[in-house]
Symmetry: C2
Subunit: 214 residues, 2 copies
């Protein structure tokens, strides 16, 4: 195993450097905690499929209820397809909003109605984490896999963002093209790409501890 | 910043070594990916509260829907309290099972009916991640915080386990003692402690990629 000089992320593992083999470098977790940021601005260059598959493999090390591993993956590594999925998701969300005046989607109304807006921020790669809708723990299991996926991607120099507005895919033909069976749910749409820049550490409230017993 | 020799987790950061200051050491993420395991066998010694609070603080670096940060925390750092919570949760789960012959809890029936069994595996510390039940993204947001919490704990030499069977707390007096307001839900009961041993890497299926587009 080779070590980067100093072994510390910011100097040794600049974001944007492709990392084909995960065993060949190390990344400090405590740096990663702060560097794993929602990225919404990506370089043009594509993400090698091999790298996406390694990251997906890492994500399956997540724990799941009863070790059920209900997660399944769809990789969309094509900007035209991603654009099409953005358009369909926006269309479905706008339709849902039009039916429900109290929809919580109202906060995103202006961007969802903006034809030019890509909910996936023109990222070059999108991974859908999906699973059978009748698995009671599906949301939590897939969220844990998504968390692993986002950490693994960040450790390899990629940016990610969980784009909840990209999950509203309903057209049967589109679902068939994505390989998503009937009865499955899209839990986590995660975009990946080489970041143009990494946002600073975001505003976070101090932890709210309701009680300490003992 | 000081570095451990070689900077690699298994040799440099033996599990079970208390780590009071997170800046004082580094932990390789790719090692952590494999070392973060569900631990169900703990040493007697307690977890310093200061360490638990640092881990909770790390967990709040997780992303959340609209940066809503709906997570709240209850720290139970007392074995007697943890035992009491285990007993109440088991009681409520058994009652739910008795009402529903098709309950998915049946797979845990024998342990839930075993008076001696502690769903929290006699761990010295329990953190409940909770939040307002009317937040639509609550389960996912709290699962992401839980994932961060489990990684941070593992990076500091602690074992964790998400114990879904420990969430069934309903007695108003108990909820009041835990500081959990009306309308809040317990999403993630996570136990923490110094592991007696770390289980090996578990069986994981190969990732099931439904489709690659592009």
């Amino acid at each position: 195993m080779t070590h980067a000089p100093n072994g510390i992320l910011p100097e040794a593992i600049p974001f944007g450097t492709p990392k084909p083999r995960k065993e060949a470098f190390m990344v400090d977790f405590f740096q990663l905690l702060k560097r794993r940021r929602a990225v919404r601005d990506y370089e043009e260059r594509p993400v090698p499929l091999e790298l996406v598959l390694e990251i997906i493999k890492d994500s399956t090390l997540a724990p799941s209820s009863g070790n059920g591993q209900p997660w399944r993956f769809v990789v969309v590594n094509d900007r035209h397809w991603i654009r099409r999925l953005s358009d369909e998701s926006k269309r479905n969300l706008v339709a849902a909003m039009d039916k429900d005046p109290d929809s919580p989607l109202r906060r995103y109304e202006s961007v969802l109605r903006n034809e030019g807006f890509n909910v996936f921020y023109n990222a070059p790669c999108l991974v859908y984490i999906v699973g059978p809708g009748d698995v009671r723990s599906l949301q939590i299991d897939c969220a844990l896999a998504a968390c692993y996926l986002m950490f693994s991607a960040a450790a390899r120099g990629l940016g990610t963002c969980w784009v909840a507005q990209g999950a509203a895919i309903a057209d049967p033909e589109t679902l068939r093209a994505l390989g998503i069976p009937d009865g499955y749910r899209i839990v986590a749409p995660i975009i990946l790409g080489y970041p143009k820049s990494i946002p600073g550490i975001p505003a976070r409230s101090e932890p709210q501890i309701l009680k300490v017993l003992g």
